[in-house]
Amino acid sequence: MELIQFIHLDLTSTILLILVGFVGGLVSGFIGSGGAFVLTPAMMSLGAPAMVAVASNICHKFPKALVGAVKRHKYGQVDIKMGVVIGVFAELGMLYGKQVMTGIRNNFGVVGTDLYVSVVFVVVLGIVGGLVLRDYFKLKAQESQSLGTVRDFKPTAAARWVQSVNIPGTMMSFPTANMRVSLLFLAPIGFATGMLAATIAVGGFIGVPAMIYLLGVPAIMASATELVIAFVMGLGGTVLYGLEGFVDVRMSALILFGSLFGIQLGAIGTTYIKDYQIKLVMAVIMLTVLFSRIFYVPNYLSKLEVIAPLSDQTMKTLTMLGDVVLVLALVLGAAMVLSSLFKGMAEHGKSE
């Protein structure tokens, strides 16, 4: 028998959830996806067990994804077929990812899943955040050399190879993305996306870069198609986690409240800036959140008796440091997005 405590909603936690949702939405709207890397740790910091934080996060995301997918489909940016195919494999990945989470919980308790989620966060944010930052410096350098031609999309060598492979019986055509790709490439991308989504509630960190760099889908179409994948697996994930009683709809709704304001403002912000500026914001937020999660890990390790027990005072200090850095990441993210928006609007106003 295990205590699964939903957080107590008082005025402070309500306001914090709305604010966190707003920043998460602002970031999601601005960089395409991934507000969850702000939301999941923040919910955990407010006292929600990892499973409840992940489940409630997934639950707030899928209707938003549907709304976004429908909107962007109107602009011809969505390859529905590709989204559904990858989404189905993502669903399988999600099932497996959830099994892993449940297995860890059964063997090591709630602290075990908290540690697992934190470690995955640190590793994924470290790798992806680092890559995005490198991409930012590369694109910025290219732009200064070639006076702003970085917007042209060219498939990578890997993508050209993937598109050239012909495995009879597995080939699928995607008219919107204008390509033919073997299902054998789509399946692992979907599976990995779903597995990551079940663990940290954000699969887009694998799905979007994989579509761009491995399949050769243009970035704008990849981020739009990701919304279809997010909807398919978000709905499935909510049902899966919900059946085990982990979805706290109060928390989902409060986050949705802030998020719906933030996501639209963030999306408006993207129309005023250059592509590589989005990458800088993404990298800065990801790496700051990563830094905040590092402070929580020793506490989990101590509770699991992996390391020598830490004193209560040390645990409190580490938790406080983690919370402070997380708040810093949120403030920094919001400030960068809003300043881009205001600056862009002011310049746009002048040029008209």
Partner: protein, 120 residues
């Protein structure tokens, strides 16, 4: 999403009328008010999607998953009836909020004056 009262301002030329924004704001506020009024019931519904044991009541209630009658009695709790169909409740709620509140926020930012840059 179909945005009533919003279609005419999609291209950033017209501002939605204040009345429409207020009506959608009021409907949105009612949704959230309902959520707070029924907060404890919603927690109970979520926790009883799977087998659980409740100790205490109202906002102070604690829920234990995977209970046995003995363990539940030991902590002074009550074994609750569960229904897998409860899972549909949060799904329906977030869909509804997404639609209603999504429409409102879209109109809200338009009337406040935040618009996307025009296509070059």
């Amino acid at each position: 999403m179909v945005n009533p009262g919003h279609h005419k301002c999609n291209h950033g030329t017209k501002t939605p009328d204040l009345f429409t924004v207020l009506v959608w704001g009021a409907v949105t506020a009612s949704c959230y008010a309902g959520l707070f009024i029924y907060a404890d019931d919603l927690v109970n519904l979520a926790q009883t999607t799977t087998s659980s044991c409740r100790v205490g009541s109202g906002a102070e209630a604690e829920y234990f998953h995977q209970p046995t009658p003995e363990l539940c009695a030991e902590v002074g709790g009550t074994l609750l009836d569960s229904s897998k169909l409860n899972v549909l409740v949060p799904i329906a709620i977030v869909f509804l909020i997404s639609y209603i509140h999504g429409t409102f926020t879209s109109l809200f930012w338009e009337i406040v004056g935040f618009r996307a840059a025009k296509q070059k």
